[in-house]
């Protein structure tokens, strides 16, 4: 599967707490307009390549306090109709991996609704390689196996542009689940 | 030269020294916080919070410790003393916090807790900081070049001892200068260094006045300069005048009493050209023109007199206002005038009934009335009389009061407003408030002595208080920092049981003793005279200013700066004072070695470029025994790393502000190869004795006063072996055992409490300045009741508070009475008055380079300008400026501040020259004037040299400079360094 996806801004109104939803209500345009997704299945293994435009990459925080690094997440659902924009729901999880430009290891993600993201140790059997060139990030994730994806055959992506101060719910996301069926 | 011997960098040096723990502490102390076991905060045991349960336990573990010790900042020239708990983990003191175990002195007065300041609360930053010396170093490049090799202590001792012995053999002991102050304590450190260098016959310069701290005005007026009780006495005043002091910055632990007094109903007035951190809390701030304080005081004195609010009985009894002065000579009318062979010391008052002069009560040589009294005669303070002298001459005499009143006449509010740049109404309100007060009090700090004519300002201020009867009255008077004597300094600490008492001038002491036995003088006066005699005769004490004038290459500069100010050039006064033996000046012939216990002479001296050019090359040996690197250390030959304040036993020098003894525990062992000074001196004494015996040296000369026996110096240092190199605890206990002020105190108990309230204010030596024999550790410590309650004469030439000085030099100069004289323009006639303030962020140069402190400033020295001045000069906030006068120029960044008076430039002092481009600070343009009159001597009263009482000093506050924006394109040290 290979696909060019137009991303949308995750609706700030969905952010938990009283602040982000209101303070960032005007943030309706995605910081990352689009992304290219390429998914290849080889037996049990999955290779997911994600690339997106990024003119000003942020590779580390350094000792600064007001910078945010570039990041991306690839998730799959528990059910075919798991709610993506809310990061799942109680008893209906979204799971996947989270990549940050300043970290070697990936972080596992498990969420069952807004504000419930748990960060988990990096899942076994998944490797990331990333490269920034020609004003684009190219992130390649190699899963030895991803049984949840085997079942659901759909992913969603989220991208955070550090230079645009994306973080948390301030992100560009796929408008919904993307089928990875070949 | 072998590269490996050059000190490469501090980090690798730490490895060399093999001190992993301390090194870790220095670079990343904080990392250790999370790894400790814990305990209960009860008592002084360890604190062990719960095992790691959740993230909150990270914080709980951070506030934990293995043990707690007591400490304070002993070998530090800070007038405060504050008890601290030292929290120790894995052998490192991770932080300190005030113990706060003081009690209120008496009901109705706030307590002293929790004394401390931001410096004391992070001394560990200095102790484990980047300026700390850790191993003995020997210079391998040129002086000041920054090239060092690490040497062993044994090598250091051997080379230094041999050099010092050579110097004494070739010349004499006084060719070695041991820079006495301003760092000192009352414990083993002062005892160790003081005793060693005293026995070597080394020159011991008293720099009290040199650094501008001596209240000469108080000495002239009261006979003693260090006046003042405990700081909670401030709370009792109803009219508090902070007059040339900034307690909110320089007396941080005590400042609260001022603002609490305000809540208690007192009026708080701050007189300062600067809208200081103290002034912001005042009821009234008087933005006086710099250097005109005497004028304001004279107007106030006149107002007190004019309004009849003078305390007449007090004035008659305690002051010189009723004393008679001969109008033909200007001298006091004495017994010698009235009777052939009469006493020149015996002064007189007018007896209206007998219509003739009679001896003044309390006058020296008035055996009938040795004490002050107005019971039999309340002498008039105004009047002019014709009298006949014993030789038949008819002369007119007048009371000091009459002369003074006439002298005060011109000081109307209007005239005073002209001089001080204050409004008439402001002066009137102040004078009204002062004159109506029941307990007026003036806080006048050491910093009030840094103008050329500071003596005049303080004489005038004291006059106002005397007219109100406030001096020696509880809750009123003059606060200029009093002292409590202990055994560790002036008394047994200095002399010890060294067997030197026999060297005193026993004839003189015998006379004194007879006076005492006959009740002509008090026990305190006897002690006072004895102590001063001892320090004069048993040590090669010199006053610093005279020594500097002789050796630092500044004579021409000062003669030029002071040209025309007095009838003769400064150096003529100096010459006369030396010829008449008024001022002791050592070394006599040659200066060959300079040894300092961290006193940083090249930082504190004025015109240090002259010292470096003229004096430094004469020195064969420069040693800095110090915990940290300083500008002086950078120009030394040997750096001997000393233990820090928490690493050795000590007794903090005791000022009266806080009448508790403050003990310093050796809470942790000295880091790396550092050693405490008692031991360093012990080891040096042993090495010197070994060499002397080896060379079979005869008794040598010190400074012509006493023989120097190097073959027994170690035996005497150690009291015939009684005190070993590690016996600082026993030495400390000995001091405690030898003073009535510390009666019953034990080191064992102080290890637990850190402090103990003094049992008395006056100890065994000459440094008791409280003169309150009733105070036994209970109640607010008020002072000078010896004179006001017990009516003993004041320690002046007349036995009275003295406002008329009839010394010929004073008469010649027209300064016999308190008067206002304009501040001379030192450095030339330039538009800015450069004024030094004591720093909030350092105690002199300690903490000055500490990153934690610098981050709360601007990282670099700053010169404060009023924003309007800065705008006119087009110097932005933070920009570099060039500051210059005829003595030179230096660079400093400008800071804007509305507290600054236009045409004044303030710096907060003690920046090291190496914190400036070219290593040149404001000191390089500050001549440090010396008032010629302070070289005077030859009187039995207050005008005679005595340690820390009467001596010439230097005055930095008269310096004038030009300030201009640094040209951005300039090729200079700043551009070379790539700085902007």
């Amino acid at each position: 599967m290979q696909q060019e996806i137009d991303l949308i801004a995750a609706p700030p109104a969905l952010s938990p707490g009283g602040y982000v939803a209101k303070a960032y209500a005007d943030r309706v345009q995605p910081a990352t307009k689009n992304a290219r997704v390429e998914v290849v299945r080889q037996g049990a293994a999955w290779r997911i390549a994600l690339s997106w435009p990024c003119a000003s990459p942020v590779l580390s925080l350094g000792d600064d306090v007001d910078t945010f690094v570039d990041a991306a997440a690839v998730l799959t659902s528990s059910k075919a109709d798991t709610s993506w924009m809310t990061m799942g729901d109680n008893g209906d999880a979204v799971t996947g991996v989270f990549w940050r430009a300043d970290q070697e290891a990936l972080t596992g993600i498990h969420a069952e609704g807004l504000g419930t993201v748990d960060r988990l140790p990096p899942p076994d059997g998944v490797r990331a390689t990333s490269e920034w060139k020609d004003d684009r990030w190219i992130l390649q994730l190699d899963f030895d196996a991803w049984s949840q994806l085997d079942q659901q055959q759909q992913i969603a992506v989220a991208i955070w542009q550090g230079a645009e101060r994306d973080r948390g719910g301030l992100k560009s996301v796929s408008p919904g689940w993307i089928s990875v069926a070949a | 030269m072998n590269d490996a011997t050059i000190y490469p960098s501090r980090r690798s040096f730490l490895k060399l020294a093999g001190i992993t723990a301390a090194a870790a502490a220095t670079s990343s102390l904080s990392l250790l916080h999370f790894n400790y076991s814990q305990a209960s905060p009860e008592g002084l045991g360890a604190r062990n919070p719960n095992k790691m349960g959740n993230w909150q336990d990270l914080y709980r573990q951070r506030w934990s410790w293995d043990r707690v010790a007591k400490g304070t900042h002993g070998w530090l020239n800070c007038r405060s003393a504050c008890n601290f708990d030292l929290y120790i983990k894995d052998g490192i003191i991770v932080r300190e916090e005030q113990t706060a175990n003081y009690e209120a002195s008496e009901p109705g007065v706030p307590d002293f807790n929790p004394r401390g300041c931001q410096k004391g609360a992070c001394y560990t930053e200095v102790m484990y900081g980047p300026g700390r010396l850790q191993v003995p170093l020997k210079r391998v490049g040129e002086r000041g070049e920054g090239k060092w090799e690490q040497i062993s202590w044994d090598q250091a001792y051997k080379e230094i001892a041999e050099k010092m012995v050579d110097i004494i053999v070739e010349d004499s002991g006084d060719a070695i200068v041991y820079d006495l102050g301003p760092h000192f304590d009352h414990g083993p450190t002062s005892r160790g260094q003081g005793a060693l260098f005293r026995m070597l016959g080394a020159s011991l310069p008293d720099d009290w006045a040199e650094i501008g701290d001596l209240s000469v005005g108080a000495t002239l007026s009261l006979g003693l300069p260090h006046v003042g009780g405990s700081s909670d006495e401030w709370f009792l005043s109803d009219y508090l005048v902070v007059w040339m002091m900034n307690p909110a910055v320089t007396q941080i632990p005590d400042a609260h009493f001022l603002f609490e007094a305000k809540y208690n109903g007192s009026e708080l007035v701050v007189i300062d050209p600067q809208y200081s951190a103290t002034a912001v809390h005042a009821d009234k701030w008087l933005p006086i023109r710099p250097g005109t304080d005497a004028a304001l005081a004279l107007a106030t004195a006149k107002h007190i007199w004019d309004t009849g609010r003078m305390n007449l009985p007090y004035v008659q009894e305690h002051t010189d206002l009723p004393l008679l002065v001969r109008l033909d000579t200007g001298r006091y009318l004495t017994g010698a005038d009235l009777e052939d062979g009469g006493s020149t010391a015996l002064v007189h008052v007018w007896d209206p009934e007998r219509a003739e002069p009679v001896p003044a009560a309390g006058s020296p040589d008035n055996d009938d009335q040795p004490k002050l009294s107005i019971e039999e005669l309340a002498p008039p303070i105004e009047g002019q009389f014709e009298i006949r002298l014993h030789d038949g001459t008819e002369v007119r005499v007048a009371t000091v009061g009459s002369i003074l009143r006439e002298h005060l006449d011109p000081w109307t509010f209007e005239n005073t407003a002209e001089v001080t740049d204050l409004a008439v109404e402001q002066i009137r309100q102040f004078a009204e408030g002062f004159s109506k007060a029941e307990r007026p009090m003036v806080l006048s700090s050491w910093g009030s002595n840094r103008y050329f004519h500071s003596d005049q300002m303080n004489r005038a201020k004291i006059l106002c208080l005397s007219l109100k009867g406030a001096i020696g009255k509880k809750g009123a008077g003059y606060h200029a920092t009093g002292w409590i004597e202990t055994g560790g300094f002036g008394g047994s600490g200095f002399l010890g049981t060294l067997g030197l008492i026999s060297q005193l001038d026993m004839g003189k002491l015998f006379d004194l003793a007879i006076d005492k036995v006959r009740g002509r003088i008090s026990a305190e006066k006897f002690k006072w005279e004895f102590g001063h005699e001892a320090s004069k005769e048993l040590a090669c004490m010199t006053n610093s200013a005279s020594m500097n004038l002789k050796y630092q290459g500044i004579r021409d500069d000062l003669d030029k700066e002071q040209e025309g100010l007095y009838p003769r050039p400064l150096t003529e006064y100096d010459r006369e004072a030396r010829e008449r033996d008024w001022m002791p000046v050592f070394p006599r012939e040659k200066i060959r070695a300079w040894v300092t216990g961290g006193n940083n002479v090249l930082r504190r001296s004025n015109l240090p470029q002259r010292t470096l050019e003229h004096m430094w090359p004469k020195l064969d040996l420069v040693i800095d025994i110090n915990q940290k690197l300083t500008f002086t250390g950078m120009h030394a030959d040997y750096l001997l790393p000393a233990a820090g304040y928490y690493e050795k036993h000590g007794i903090k020098y005791p000022v009266a502000y806080i009448p508790y003894l403050h003990f310093c525990d050796a809470a942790v062992p000295p880091i790396a190869e550092t050693r405490d000074e008692w031991r360093i001196s012990w080891d040096l004494a042993a090495e010197i004795q070994r060499i002397a015996i080896e060379r079979d040296l005869p008794k040598l000369d010190g400074c012509g006063k006493f023989p120097v026996d190097l073959k027994t110096i170690s035996d005497r240092y150690s009291h015939e072996g009684k005190y070993g190199p590690h016996d600082t605890k026993a030495v400390t206990q000995t001091f405690l055992d030898n003073s009535i002020t510390t009666e019953g105190m034990t080191v064992d108990s102080l290890e637990k409490t850190g402090v103990a309230k003094f049992k008395a204010a006056g100890g065994p030596g000459a440094h008791d300045q409280c003169f309150n024999t009733d105070w036994k550790g209970e109640g607010v410590l008020d002072t000078l009741t010896h004179f006001t309650k017990y009516k003993w004469p004041w320690l002046t030439r007349t036995g009275r508070q003295q406002f008329y000085i009839d010394h010929p030099w004073f008469l010649e100069a027209g300064e016999s009475l308190p008067t206002h004289i304009e501040s001379p323009k030192a450095g030339g006639d330039y538009p800015f008055h450069l004024i030094s303030c004591h720093a909030r962020w350092s105690v002199h140069s300690i903490w000055r380079d500490d990153p934690m402190m610098l981050r709360l400033q601007r990282g670099e020295p700053a010169l404060y300008l009023n924003p309007k001045d800065a705008e006119r000069l087009e110097i932005g906030d933070g920009d570099w400026a060039v500051i210059s006068n005829r003595l030179g120029e230096f660079f400093m960044r400008i800071k804007h501040s509305t507290m600054v008076r236009p045409s004044v430039a303030y710096y907060f002092h003690a920046w090291e020259p190496h914190q400036f481009p070219n290593h040149e600070s404001y000191k390089f343009v500050t001549p440090g004037l010396m008032k010629p009159l302070h070289f005077a001597g030859g009187e039995e009263g207050q005008i005679r040299w005595r340690f820390a009482q009467w001596e010439p000093g230097t005055h930095v506050q008269d310096t004038r400079v030009a300030i201009r924006r640094r040209d951005e394109g300039a090729q200079d040290a700043i551009s070379e360094a790539g700085e902007v």
Binding site: - | W55, A121, K147, Y263, Q426, T898, E912
Partner: protein
């Protein structure tokens, strides 16, 4: 809503700007690399831009109660970096051909710091120049903007004492709390990549020991205790006499740190005559503490007048704090023994 609320009162008439509080806090909590720039407690000179620079009102709420978007201050420009210094180079020059006489200075040009405009103040000398010191710490607000801002619910206001804490495990370092706090009292630690803030010295308070900033204050200007403890100074100063006021009440967060407003010497007229009016403009105090500050100042002045004429005043006695230990009314099984 917490069941009880711990609170602090700071008497600005006693603050001397010595920053012992700043150091007490710094030494205890913020000596790690990532928090070098961070001062949970700082003291700033007002009027002034403060720390971080121009912090006031970035975030919080409008007067209508609407959430305002805030900014994250920058390290060099607004907080001020914890500069390193060149001691080694200055003291131990090894002839490596570097600067001949390097002087001791920060490793980079200093642009701002936690106390940058110390003693700057405002107004024409000598008529009306003025300044005062304002110590600041987290206000442990009743309605904390930081708590509201965290999409992770990582910020908690404790039931038992109302202390506001950032859960160091849950925090993801998004820094919405840093933005949202109009007092700018939440700090990001770039090393640990979490935000941190004043914990009201939680481990000490648990043991009945006052926070380090309060207990180490030599100016004796801080009172600590529970707002509902009618026996203790806090309640009396805040409620009984109404002289202790929160900073910027208009931010709508109901701070639990209160200030006794500063009095100041008399202004002078153009001829230098005293005017009887305080140097610090009342309008300025109102802009900081709200309009109630007028009453507070009046009460302080009236009570002081009482005392001047020899009458008792409980308020003055409280502010004098005769027995310093009584400034801290914390419930604990332990006394002040540390």
């Amino acid at each position: 809503m917490a069941k009880r609320q711990i609170a602090m009162v700071l008497d600005l008439n006693k603050c001397i700007g010595c920053q012992t509080c700043t150091i007490a806090c710094k030494k205890l909590w913020n000596t790690d690399t990532g928090t070098g720039y961070a001062y949970w407690n700082n003291v700033e000179t007002l009027p002034g831009a403060g720390y971080p620079k121009e912090w006031s009102g970035s975030g919080g709420r409008t007067s209508d109660g609407e959430v305002k978007r805030g900014q994250i201050p920058t390290l060099d420009g607004e907080y001020g970096r914890a500069w390193s210094f060149n001691h080694d180079k200055v003291f131990f020059r090894s002839g490596d051909g570097g600067e001949k006489k390097p002087w001791l200075r920060p490793d980079r040009k200093a642009q701002w710091g936690a106390n940058w405009d110390e003693d700057l103040g405002a107004g024409e000398y000598p008529q009306e120049n003025h300044y005062f010191y304002l110590p600041r710490l987290c206000n442990h607000c009743t309605h904390p903007a930081c708590l509201d801002a965290c999409p992770r619910a990582a910020i908690e206001k404790r039931e038992e004492d109302g202390i506001v804490l950032v859960d160091q495990d849950r925090c993801n370092g998004y820094r919405f709390c840093v933005e949202a706090c109009p007092y700018k009292k939440v700090y990001f630690d770039p090393q640990r990549q979490v935000t941190t803030k004043c914990i009201f010295c939680l481990p000490r308070v648990e043991e009945g020991v006052a926070p380090a900033c309060a207990r180490q204050c030599p100016g004796r200007l801080r009172f600590v205790g529970y707002l509902d403890d009618e026996e203790a100074p806090i309640w009396k100063l805040v409620h009984k006499y109404g002289v202790a006021l929160p900073l910027h009440p208009e931010f709508g967060l109901e701070p639990n740190v209160y200030y006794v407003p500063p009095m100041s010497p008399e202004k002078l007229d153009s001829e230098g005559r005293p005017t009887g009016e305080s140097r610090i403009p009342m309008d300025y105090l109102v802009s900081l503490f709200g309009s109630r500050v007028k009453d507070a100042v009046k009460i302080l002045e009236d009570e002081r007048e009482k005392r001047k004429s020899g009458n008792p005043s409980e308020l003055m006695d409280l502010l004098i704090a005769y027995d310093w230990n009584e400034s801290f009314a914390l419930e604990s099984n332990r006394k002040e023994v540390i």
